[in-house]
Amino acid sequence: MNSLLWRNHDNLPLEIRIKRAAFAMTMLIVVILGGMLLILTLSEILSNQTKANRDSANFIGKVLSVDIKSQLNSVKTLSQSSLVWTALTDSAGRDAHLRPFLQNKTNSGNMPMHLLDYRGRSVLESVSSAHIDSSLAQLSARVLADRRPRFATDQNAEHSALIVAFPVFFPYTQDAIGVLVGEIDLSNNFSSKVEDLGAEIGIEILHQGRILAAHRHIDSGGYFPASVELNLQETIDDGPLVLKLYSTSNPWIQTVTKYIVLSIALAALLGTLVWRIAGLIARRITLRLTPLTNACVAISKGHDVTIPQDDGMDEVGVLSRTLQNAISSYRQINTHLEQLVAEKTRGLSESESRFRRFFENNSSVMLLIDPASGEIRDANYAAANFYGYPHEEMAGMHYRYINLLSELASRPNLEGEGLEFISRHQLFNGDARDVEVYSTPIESDGRTLLFAIVHDISERTLNERELRIAATAFEVQEGILITDADINILRVNKAFSRITGYQADEVIGHNPSILNSGYQDTEFYAAMWDDLHRTGEWEGEIWNRRKNGEIYPEYLTITATRDVKGNISNYVAAFNDITASKKAEEEIKGLAFYDPLTRLPNRRLLLDRLTRAQASSARNAQQCALLFIDLDHFKSLNDTLGHDIGDLLLQQVAQRLQTCVRDDDTVARQGGDEFVLMLENLSESTIDAAKQAEKIAEKILLTLNQTYYLGTHAHHNTPSIGITLFSGHQTKAEELFKQADIAMYQSKSAGRNTLRFYDPTMQAEISAQVALELDLRRAVSEHSELLLYYQTQVDDADHITGVEALIRWNHPEQGLISPAKFIPLAEESGLILPLGHWVLTTACRQLASWSAQPGREHLSMAVNISPRQFWLPTFVEEVLTLINYFKINPAKLKLEITESMTLDNVDDIIAKMTALKSKGINFSMDDFGTGYSSLQYLKKLPLSQLKIDQSFVRDIANDSGDQAIVRTVIAMAQSLDLNVIAEGVETKEQRAILLSYGCSNYQGYLFGKPVPIEQLEIVLTQSP
């Protein structure tokens, strides 16, 4: 080009030629230098910007992939479960089983699901299913044909979804018998993820060029977008899902363009300058032009050159210096451009900071791990939140602090492009979570780190467990309660709420013990858990408490479900409220089967178990035993220390009894101080069974003989035990009770604190008693065989002061029967009331008759009053009526009461006594000294006489103890201004001693036996 310039203008003046040549050379330099710089800068900026965008896209793509993949896996897992193929082969499996499972939102993870049959027809849909267009039919047809999963997209006005369809294989035939379809909501997932970014960025998800979902949809003109395929393992049928990302920062290209314009302007300015200077100096062309020419040639070849210094003031010198200036000007432009590049490189670090923002603000848990040391280099806020550590503590922490699996199983490694695995991570609070970890190597500061996205799949694994639960529980009319392995309630069904009154949200997370009625003891529950752990199942009847406090019976089945490793993962409790059954209703009315005081089975439950024991012994021919245990002198304890202490003793006895028997034996409380034991599965031989029962009874004797500590009292008590053996149904339950009772009385009469077996001859004795009671009843109603005998009472001068009326029964066959034999019978049967009335009436009539006879009117009449008689509300009235009727002197009537009578309801007794006393009637305390009366207590009673019991009198001559007691009683009576009479005085010696102590009234054989009225009259006539 230069030669052309020269050649064609040979005839032009040199000045012009030089001017042209100088201009051309200068322009050449400008064009070459500027062009090269532009190209270099452009390409570098472009590649950096693209890389930064692609990195971001990769990143976001990974996070989205993880999220979608996780949902996808739940559909996949379900499609491979027996629940689904059973639903396709059995209508019950489908209706009773899968339907409720799918309709429970937490199971399907809020994802609409559809089950299609082998021809793609809908079999089941979850309730919240959104619209799916006809492409679903095509999709499922392809899935069934290819036998592999297919994905498709669905887009409508409201949302776009990724439709995932998995074939369901029947394990027997390997047929694809259906398709399970899930709709993964892209719109929502996507938006929520991108919101996390907080960066100036635009994102689109595309499929086949169609935008499925977009966020901050910006105009893409002038930007360099980066796109990445979402990695979903299984590819979508008709092309991948593509993520496209635009930077929204100022496009760099505008800046660059600005500088290019500037460069061109500069070049134009320079050109004009060169043109003028070249014109000025052209005329002074000299040899000094040559080195300039050479330099220009060198520059044109791209070499960096320096123009030789030419200080000459001529044109050549000027040209040389001008050229030098021009070159330095271009160097300046060059530097400008370099600065521009540096600036843009800083812009790249902005893309890094975009990564930082994305990392830090993302709601997914993200970690940067150094694979060499295992150290966590960085963690985002979501990670700190998830793990519960302060954010600044997370960086620098070792991976093993959060990883629960062995290092080997979850070792971060660098192989492959990305790695995903399931692990178990521990949180700061100790909770463990199942997580899916997606890790991928990334470069940072020249080092390779592992970037890990951690996805909590606990809920999904929970759902997988629920699948197994669902397989166990489908009887929806039953109340169902599901707990985790730690017995926290996870789920309850509607029937549960109906039966218990608790709504799901009131119980979830709680222990089922909120239903505890307290009717079962801890041992019951211990046995239940033992069963559960051993066999994986427990069933039985149990009493629970509703929310409203009502106690109800339920039939409960608890099943432990296990995970794939065979560990118990859940307990499923299914129960029926059995209150409704008639039987249960009655049981509630009768308030259950347990004695509230001792928590032992009561008589009802015992009878029930007895019936069962009879049935089972009838089958297995084994013997059983029924033991009646009565506490000796329990009543005394109750009387002296009060019922509270008595109750304590009963509770302790109950506890001790339970330690004496085997697990399957029954210890029951029949009432009062009576306990009943039932021993089952004894030997088949009667002799051996008796030995076994005896052994246990002896153990009971030993155990119950140990000292009891009742509050502050140390107490000793003994039992009397009666035993009877049985097997099968030969003997009725009632009869068995009677037998054991008889045996118990036998051991009582054998001196207590011992055991006796039921002996049939004992039965005869009891029968005789029953007969006697019948006879007594007749005698009382007819008065025919009852007699009053009278025993005289004398003073120290042996003058008869009065008599005690004593009842006798002249049995037509047995002759005279001792009151000791029939009075207890009368007390027990209630006959004592008419009997007592008869005695009182007869005695009053006798008094009336004496009051009319001179020499008899001074006689007093002592009448024994039974406690039951005295307790009658009408007693006072009855006595006063008799006194009025017979018109007798009340002072002559002496009512003998016993100590024990006065211990209960003292105020009532005192009121009655005072009422009678005010009418002049006297009271004598019978059997004084045998009870527990205190002096203070005695003072309250309006008594006029104390009667010293014959047991003290009998040995008074020899027994210093009795002497002391009698002396004390007499002294006490005197201090209370009470008259004293001693009964059972048989010898003159006794009389003398009593007299010496100050006792001046006597009764006993020494003065006369009890005799009928006719003989008494003779005695009275003869006596002084």
Binding site: S82, D90, A92
Partner: protein, 391 residues
């Protein structure tokens, strides 16, 4: 008079118009199941009966019977489609099913809707005949679970002196049908059911459930299973120490497939008994000999003990003969009339037993609990009845 003759003639022509045309019987069963022999057995039974009937002149005065088979692969949806397809075939008068109770249960409403007789030579769930549809189009010549329950319990008590029983059931309508029956029977017999465990079809292992049942104190296990789970359990049990192997009393689902082949040596290590209603072994009746001869001729079965799934063959054979009689009695291929005729059949001397009146309007089960006995597998894969007569 002429009118009468005309009427007679018209009947004759009507008959002749159809003479030579085929009358079809459908069979929809689980042919494709690799391990299954039940569908094949039912097919053999029907085919032998059809051959006999055709040889004797067919039905309706000379029309031959022909069997059309479909494979439902034990999938309910396929079975329903097959039933609808079969029902579209003109002159197809009834459809036989295979061994899967859930398949029948799914098909019943469709059979009722299409008014086509559904004949059951195997499925035992109570619901198959106790479904409440009137008039009912299902007829069964087979075992019923409510008879099987008491039989299991009686057998366990007599054979194994068992007082405590564990039960292992599939989580399907068949399993539930059995649970109800076994529960009731045990309560009545005073036997304690120590535990009930449910498994799902396709479960990879049953041994945890078995061990749980064993730990509840069961003396024997009642197993309700088909050959797949049955063989799985037997193999897992055989790996236990001998004292931990309880006697297994099995429902007959296992005999619907190559159970002995699938269990191999393991089966002989377990005390295994299976409920049955018919065995060709030791049968001396002319019908039994005839059927055996046909089995030999057509299917190469050398002797009685080699017949796979013998109940399928026998039940299907008798049921086909009964159906043929009903066709003749109905006088046409009208399905409704044939259904009615099934309820009014007279006495029939069959292979399984003598039927005084096979079905009646309120009894669509041709067999009774008297047909039940128990068999065991010998080492060479023969199903041999126990000596004891009936349970």
């Amino acid at each position: 008079m002429i009118q009468k003759i005309l009427v007679l003639l018209s009947f004759l022509f009507a008959h002749q118009a159809h003479a030579g045309e085929l009358v079809y019987i459908g069979l929809d069963a689980e042919f494709a199941q690799k391990s299954s022999t039940s569908a094949q057995a039912v097919q053999q039974g029907i085919q032998i009966a059809i051959d006999e009937i055709n040889q004797a002149g067919g039905v309706l005065g000379g029309r031959k019977l022909e069997l059309i088979t479909r494979d439902n692969r034990s999938i309910t949806a396929i079975a329903v489609d097959n039933l609808r397809d079969l029902a579209k075939i003109p002159d197809l008068i009834a459809v036989f099913g295979g061994k899967y109770s859930p398949v029948y249960i799914e098909c019943i409403p469709v059979a009722q809707e299409l008014q086509i007789p559904l004949l059951d030579p195997w499925g035992s769930a109570d619901m198959i005949t106790d479904h409440g549809f009137q008039p009912s189009y299902t007829f069964r010549l087979s075992l019923k679970d409510s008879w099987a329950g008491p039989a299991f319990v009686r057998f366990a008590m007599k054979q194994h002196k068992a007082k405590h029983l564990g039960v292992l059931l599939p989580n399907t309508s068949w399993g539930r049908s059995n649970q109800a029956a076994i529960d009731k029977a045990a309560a009545k017999a005073g036997v304690k059911l120590t535990g009930v465990r449910w498994y799902n079809w396709g479960d990879p292992s049953l041994i945890i459930k078995y061990n749980e049942l064993r730990n509840t104190g069961a003396d024997a296990i009642i197993l309700v299973a088909n050959e797949n789970e049955g063989s799985l359990l037997i193999k897992e049990m055989a790996a236990l120490p001998p004292e931990q192997r309880l006697p297994i009393i099995s429902h007959w689902g296992v005999t619907g497939g190559d159970f002995a082949g699938m269990t191999g040596d393991a089966l002989q290590k377990i005390d295994f008994s299976v409920i049955q209603t018919y065995s060709f072994i030791g049968q001396k009746s002319p019908i039994a000999k005839r059927v055996l001869a046909a089995m030999q001729r057509s299917y190469g079965i050398a002797e009685a003990s080699q017949i796979k799934s013998p109940v399928g063959v026998a039940h299907a054979y008798d049921l086909t003969h009964l159906l043929a009689r009903a066709i003749n009695q109905a006088g046409s291929t009208n399905r409704g009339k044939i259904r009615d005729a099934m309820e009014k059949l007279g006495p029939y001397v069959g292979l399984v037993q003598y039927y005084a009146q096979p079905f009646s309007p309120d009894r669509h089960d041709a067999l009774s609990d008297k047909n039940i006995f128990f068999s065991r597998y010998t080492a060479d894969d023969k199903l041999i009845p126990f000596d004891q007569p009936n349970y």
